[in-house]
Symmetry: C2
Subunit: 174 residues, 2 copies
């Protein structure tokens, strides 16, 4: 992404955080992580992240999704002594459709980004509104998409090791 | 505490969460934990807690403090294989004065509850406003008090084992 595109993405994430009444510091605002994943279609596939803390014991972040933006299918595998990241998503604002292994939902409220359908394999839908949360076990495929207003989601988890994440789409680079 | 006092304390905590724009579910609202600590002075010493998740790997909670309410001095010791709970406090709304080991602050903005001064031994002040956070290492004494509006604080941590907490005040029962 061009620097100006990254800056624009940060501004949009900051605006969504403000709408959600989630306060971040000026330093956090400047460093909002824009996760573009190498597909070159950030508005469709990607997300913005504010990492609050990530130690060898626990991690907490705020995830910000634009309207209908998708965090693509991936899992957190075991890494050395770590059995793989377990994470709890708690929606603070907006709405998220989360997909996990299990009976595919008959009329899902979100669909994979056009052209990438082959890289989505789990279709059991969990709808999360503000105050709702869901815990993803380690090494478990999942993907999620915001509804039409976007979403702000708190993620509580064991240690994050993003470089180890395995995406179903072979074109993705984290 | 009488049932009616617990219910009133829950109502006040729910109101502060609402002012902070933190959404909880009806089930969470009904089960807000009112931590009275056995001193019989909840408005002065105690706090309310919403536990979002507490697994063998990580924990996340919302702490709610009434105006000038104090969470009394304590530490989280090692327990078997666990080196002791490490926790990160992030203020979401209101203001907190946190006290940790180190140079005592000359003109502290909070003082220990009257009559319990002997049970407070660390006086290095950290002022936390919305968006500010601070991480307490394991087995480290700390206490905190809300400023005049009360406070809502997100706590991200390793596993919580409340029964193992060691309070400086020998009268306290967790």
């Amino acid at each position: 992404m061009k620097d100006s595109d990254v800056e624009q993405a940060r501004a949009r994430a900051a605006q969504l955080l403000q709408q959600a009444h989630v306060v971040i510091t000026p330093g956090e605002r400047e460093n909002i992580e824009i996760v573009e994943l190498g597909l070159g279609e950030f508005e469709t596939t990607g997300l913005a992240i504010v990492v609050y803390v990530n130690t060898d014991r626990y991690c907490a972040k705020e995830l910000v999704l634009l309207p209908r933006q998708t965090c693509p299918e991936h899992r957190h595998p075991p890494v050395e002594d770590d059995p793989g990241k377990t994470e709890t998503f708690r929606v603070r604002w907006g709405r998220v459709y989360l997909y996990v292994p299990g009976e595919p939902t008959a009329k899902p409220k979100a669909t994979p980004p056009r052209g990438s359908e082959a890289c989505y394999t789990v279709f059991h839908e969990v709808e999360l509104n503000p105050g709702d949360q869901y815990t993803i076990p380690s090494d478990t495929l999942h993907w999620f998409q915001a509804a039409g207003q976007g979403a702000v989601v708190s993620e509580f988890s064991s240690t994050s090791r993003d470089a180890s994440d395995i995406f179903t789409d072979p074109r993705i680079k984290r």
